[in-house]
């Protein structure tokens, strides 16, 4: 007999759980829907419906500061993601595929700390480090370094989980067939861990695009990112233009969700093949 998902509940228990479930979905989604709806409202006051309009989107795209912040955000996200993915993946390989090496124990601890450290602490320590110790001026590059410092660990965790689920017999087979290390890595290991690497990269991208705290600490004058810029706008005055840019940011998040789901589906099907 196959294992059934859950045991039989009494009907009223199941009904209560279902009602509770949809109520929570309502709680999670309603605020987002309302936010999106008011981005199309022809009224200066968010919360009062003034008829349909696209004008806030026009304002948003016509706002040079906002567009500057958006392009900075994309630049920072792409550069930090590429570097964090390389660093995270090599770290995961070193931790999973090599049994013993100098300083492995310490590295294992250091690698996981950025994940559990509060973001404020991370931002504060990087600010002190950049301005009081290193002779660096705060700029877009200090933001990039900050983003890599916390997202590389997330990539490493995801890739390591993927590596742990792969048996190394395929790699051994390749090596027995006289493939050198580099060829084995490029032709066997890398394709196998690719779903994990891409999943990690997408997480790094999301973390970078979401970050407010670390960026606020280590940004230089005049080189803000979109979330920090929007954060400042909200504190000054709430306008439907903010709803419009919020909708744009939600759209970007949504695209990333579905791309990541695509990779997860592919990784699951390739794992399924392995079991056959």
């Amino acid at each position: 007999m196959s294992v059934q998902q859950g045991t039989a509940h009494r009907p009223w228990v199941d009904r209560l759980l279902t009602i509770n479930g949809w109520l929570i979905f309502g709680f999670l989604y309603l605020p987002i829907f309302i936010l999106v709806i008011y981005s199309f409202s022809d009224s200066k006051i968010v919360g009062i419906w003034g008829g349909f309009t696209w004008k806030w989107y026009g304002r948003m795209f016509g706002n040079p500061e906002m567009m500057g912040a958006l392009s900075n955000s994309i630049k920072v996200a792409i550069i930090s993601t590429v570097i964090a993915t390389i660093l995270g993946t090599t770290a995961a390989l070193a931790l999973d595929r090599y049994r013993k090496w100098l300083g492995k124990g310490a590295f294992d601890v250091i690698m996981y700390m950025p994940v559990i450290i509060p973001e404020v602490t991370m931002g504060a320590m990087l600010l002190i480090w950049f301005t009081q110790v290193l002779p660096i001026n705060l700029s877009i590059w200090t933001i990039i370094l900050g983003h890599i410092a916390f997202s590389a660990s997330f990539v490493a965790i995801i890739v390591r989980a993927r590596l742990a689920n792969l048996d190394d017999s395929l790699e051994e087979a390749a090596r027995d067939l006289y493939a050198n290390r580099w060829t084995t890595f490029r032709r066997v290991t890398l394709p196998l861990i690719m779903p994990g690497v891409m999943g990690g990269a997408l997480l790094a991208l999301t973390l970078s695009l979401d970050d407010v705290i670390i960026t606020e600490f280590v940004q230089g004058p005049g080189a803000s990112l979109l979330p920090v810029y929007v954060f400042g706008l909200i504190k000054r005055q709430v306008t439907p233009e903010i709803n419009a840019v919020s909708t744009l940011m939600l759209g970007i998040s949504m695209v990333l969700v579905f791309v990541s789901l695509g990779f997860q589906a592919r990784s699951r099907s390739s794992e399924g093949n392995k079991e056959e």
Partner: protein, 298 residues
């Protein structure tokens, strides 16, 4: 096992083998080296420096003066104002973790026990979307809901139960709960979905009531999810900055804002450093207690 099945290196002399092992170990070291160096420069050393800075005097501009030492900032942690902010942060983080668990558990349980896999996956995607969505945007959504013209305020005024909540502590709590609930649900879902339901079935066969079977079997078996979810909610709640800044007011300052203030208008970097180290320590203590209580389940 015959000799033929063995790996060729097994036939090599122990000396060669040791050499190969050493080469392998160096390869591991060099694979990790770039990340190792990066993390030492941009994580470990900054962490050490911020701890050192918490013991330095401050200059007139609020920057630390290296070489002039003081315990002033650590003593300042005992100030009534600082204590109030600290207790409020820990309390709200705790409350948020408890409520997320209370709301999240039946929710995750419901999703994980749907019979059809398609339905389960569909509901899971519905949780993943808010999980991946921009945090600032999700917090901003509540700002307009809780403001004078907002839906929540209108409902409250219509029923006569509440007024404008924006810039109060309940608003911050709602924002935190909304922001971090998905972080609780996902690990809970993973734990409950992977549960061995035969064990629950067995308990029922042995005449345990539905509630007893849940309390004695299902709940303990989903402990890893409870621990992971609680840590994922507690840590960012304790260091929350965006939520209290947008939804709270001057009376609801939390540690996160308080730290940022020290580095900006407060002009007191060494005290900001002290608070940052304190919040890190608090978080580590909480994590360790949690792991101890849950045993080595994670």
């Amino acid at each position: 096992m015959t000799m033929l099945d063995d790996h060729p290196s097994e036939e090599a002399s122990p000396e060669l083998e040791k050499k190969a092992e050493r080469a392998e170990s160096w390869r591991g070291f060099f694979t990790a080296l770039p990340t190792y160096v990066f993390l030492i420069i941009f994580f470990v050393l900054p962490l050490i420096i911020i701890t050192v800075i918490s013991f330095t005097e401050r200059s007139r501009t609020g920057k630390p003066v290296l070489g002039e030492w003081t315990l002033e900032w650590w003593i300042k942690l005992g100030d009534p104002l600082v204590r109030t902010v600290g207790f409020r942060s820990v309390w709200l983080a705790f409350l948020n973790t408890a409520f997320s668990l209370l709301l999240g558990y039946p929710f995750a349980y419901w999703i994980a026990t749907r019979k059809s896999a398609i339905m389960r996956n569909f509901l899971l995607v519905l949780v993943l979307i808010p999980f991946w969505s921009n945090f600032l945007v999700r917090t901003y959504a509540w700002r307009t809901l809780l403001d004078s013209n907002g839906l929540i305020t209108s409902i409250g005024e219509w029923t006569g139960l509440w007024g404008k909540m924006l810039f109060t502590e309940p608003a911050v709590f709602l924002g935190l709960l909304y922001g971090y609930l998905p972080f609780m649900v996902l690990p809970l879902y993973a734990a409950i979905e992977h549960l061995d339901w035969n064990l629950v079935e067995a308990a029922r066969d042995l005449y345990a009531g539905a509630w007893k079977a849940f309390r004695k079997v299902t709940l303990p078996l989903s402990m890893p999810g409870i621990i992971a979810g609680s840590i994922l909610v507690f840590i960012p709640s304790l260091g929350a900055y965006v939520t209290p800044d947008l939804l709270g007011g001057a009376k609801t300052t939390l540690l996160g804002n308080y730290i940022v203030t020290q580095f900006k208008s407060g002009r007191n970097w060494p005290f900001g450093a002290t608070l940052s180290v304190t919040i890190l320590a608090l978080m580590m203590i909480a994590t360790i207690i949690y792991f101890r209580k849950g045993g080595k389940t994670l």
